[in-house]
Amino acid sequence: MSVTEVLSRSDIIRQFKHSKSGLAGVFLLLALVLMSVYAAVAVPFESLRQWNNPVFWVDLPQSAAPAWTNFGFGPKNTEHVVLRMEDASVSVSTEGGVRTVTHSYSLNYNYDTYPDDFMLIYAARYGSTQPALQVDVLRPDGNEFRIYFASLPPSQQGDNEFSARVFSTDRAVSTELRKYLGSFSYTPDHTRPQVMMFSDAVENRVLKGNYVIKETFYLFDPADSVVNSGFILGGKVYGIIGTDDLRRDLSVGILWGAPVALFIGLTVAIAGVIIGLIYGVIAGYKGNRTDEGLMRINDIFYSLPTLPLLIILSVTIGRNIFLITGFLVIFGWVGMAKISRSLALQIKNLQYVEAAKLMGQSDFKIISKHIIPQLLPLTFASIAISVPSAILGEATLSFLGLSDPSIPTWGQILHDANTAGAASRGLWWWIVPPGLMIALTGLAFVLIGNALDVIVNPRSRKR
């Protein structure tokens, strides 16, 4: 094995371009970086901060499968739809001092099953005169059902904002719907409004087509205003990846997991390899007592059981993401120290190093100018190779329930899935994506690392 053959940067790049697996790794990594950028730009930061706050996610369905599962054969399940005020078309008319504000929501219902439920969100600001709320549903067959009509509760103070929800389970809704039993040629169940509203008038089946849900507010005071409105259709499928038991949108967690994993993996790998490099080079270059002592410490670290100690560290000291990164660095430098020491042992006996020594150059200068530059290509390969174990280490800690509770990580999602028994309940969309992401991230770096290693590591080049 020799390290005398120095590869220039362009040599390395040229050889790397010939490695198919290396290029595949680069593509995977690029995809991950794009995911991270997308997460940072397009996904609201609030969703990251509120990840573990169940209140933030109440509008989403519980354990819903991804929406694309509808594209196969078999019946199409109702997709969960959340329509916010921005989605509404608003019309205002004034008649005899009464202002009528209508928020209409258009909904294309093209599924083979009935929704689980629905709810209407509303909020208004008003003074002493209470506004009234009326909800109508215009069906594709031309029928229009009024499903709710009530006045808002009296305001407590002079000026108040009242916000509430009308649920499909409200008795008022089924009472209103009873009036329309005559429009059907059979007797639908008016106590299940979500079924009756979406039923065909002639046959007992789903009526597909375009529905319009109109929330009409009657305001009696010019100072009154509508603050919020919305319509939520409770379905069985939602989003690209679906939701978990706590109604969280898993695609948000998966997306945010990418920058987190890349940060942990790269930080631990870079810090560990640099520490190991300097440590090993000093041991190898100084030799004798220093070498003996440093390598004994290295041996001790090498024999420590990593996972149990990582667990104890995060149980006692803390689970902050930066702390966990630090813990992983503690165990991440050992391998690199061994390799760089053995290479430094060879380089220090090369003639130009001895010449530099005879010229009276300081040890610091020799190490930083003559030895470390020689090891740089190997350093890059080592960084890439040690990223996967760092990511896996963090994922394992998270999986054991020892992750930073303030941000989503892939391991944490899997921990929640395991605690909820997702595997034996068949909630595959909760298990497959996060694990696949961990595996693909690891794979990207393994492929890049191995390709680099074959080029720069004299030991593997011999093969």
Binding site: S21, R296, D299, I300, S303, L304, P305, T306, L307, P308, L309, I311, I312, L313, V315, T316, I317, P388, L392, A395, T396, F399, L400, G401, L402, L414, A417, N418, G421, A422, A423, S424, R425, G426, W428, I431, V432, P434, G435, I438, A439, L440, G442, L443, V446, L447, N450, R463
Partner: protein, 347 residues
Amino acid sequence: MGFSRFVIKRSINMVIVLFATLVLTIALLGPTMDKILKESILYYAVEELNNKDIKFPTAAERQRYIDEQVARQIKTIGLDEPWYGPKRFANTVLKVMILDLGKSNYITSDAGSPKVSDIILEKMPKTILLFTTSTIIVTVIGLYLGAFVGNKAGSLWDRLNSTFAVFSSSFPTWWVGMLMIFAFAFTYHIFPSRATPLTPPSDPSYIFDLLYHMLLPLITIVLVAFGAWAYTVRYFVVGVLGEDYIAAKRTAGIPERRIVYSHALKNAAPPIVTVVALSLAGSLSGAITIEAVFDWPGMGSLYYDAIGFLDIPIIIGITYVLTVIFILTVFVTDIIYAYFDPRVKVG
């Protein structure tokens, strides 16, 4: 450096590592352990007072009585000295070293004993059963597959195996475990999803039930590990097959099968033994996650539960036992390897 000096050096190293792990563990867990102990003393003092039915004129007086009780209790069990006090620290280290692991805070053994050593001893055989069985299977598959593809380096089989090895080593084993539960317990009801057998241990059919429950975790471990294994073996076998004496054997007309599976494997054995032993020791750490996924009633599940309950005596105990096993394996491997390959002793 002679062989005996090498052994002595390694032994000293082993003791240092053991001691360092222990001191580190206790130093990290000490404050938490003290806090938990003091809280439980306070809890029992209040509980006792409630049962005793003593009336106090004021709440302050009642509080003072409790404080007195707690202070007395703390003094009797020596908690007034902090955990890092020399007497207590040395005491704890010594106790753990001779495997006197004390009593657990919450978890008890199946037989009802709160002694940490009883609990760990009860769980250990199951962990050893699962992980030695899987290591043996992985080793056998890996050896033959590795020798097979090593002999055909560069062939389609070789490339397939390398690809599989790279992929499977990127997968977290516990995640594959979850997928296996989904596939073979939920979709196809072939195996139970929880690996704890329902039959009581006294039942004669318990052992069969246990083995049946062991199959899914076993298959998972083997599936994830054997590719990387075969890849390691292949690396060594390719090296040996390039040696001159193999070429000599070929010219002597020894059949190719015998050369590969007997001669080449035998000569590649020492480094392979090392990797086997190290992977066995390493897989014990993996036991924590795999057992947690499958709910296999071994030390790993116990550790997982102990983290959940923050049962510190058990955490210290298992960490120590795992360290002892790990370090002993590394030690024995080093010695065996040095015995076979004299070059190691010098480096």
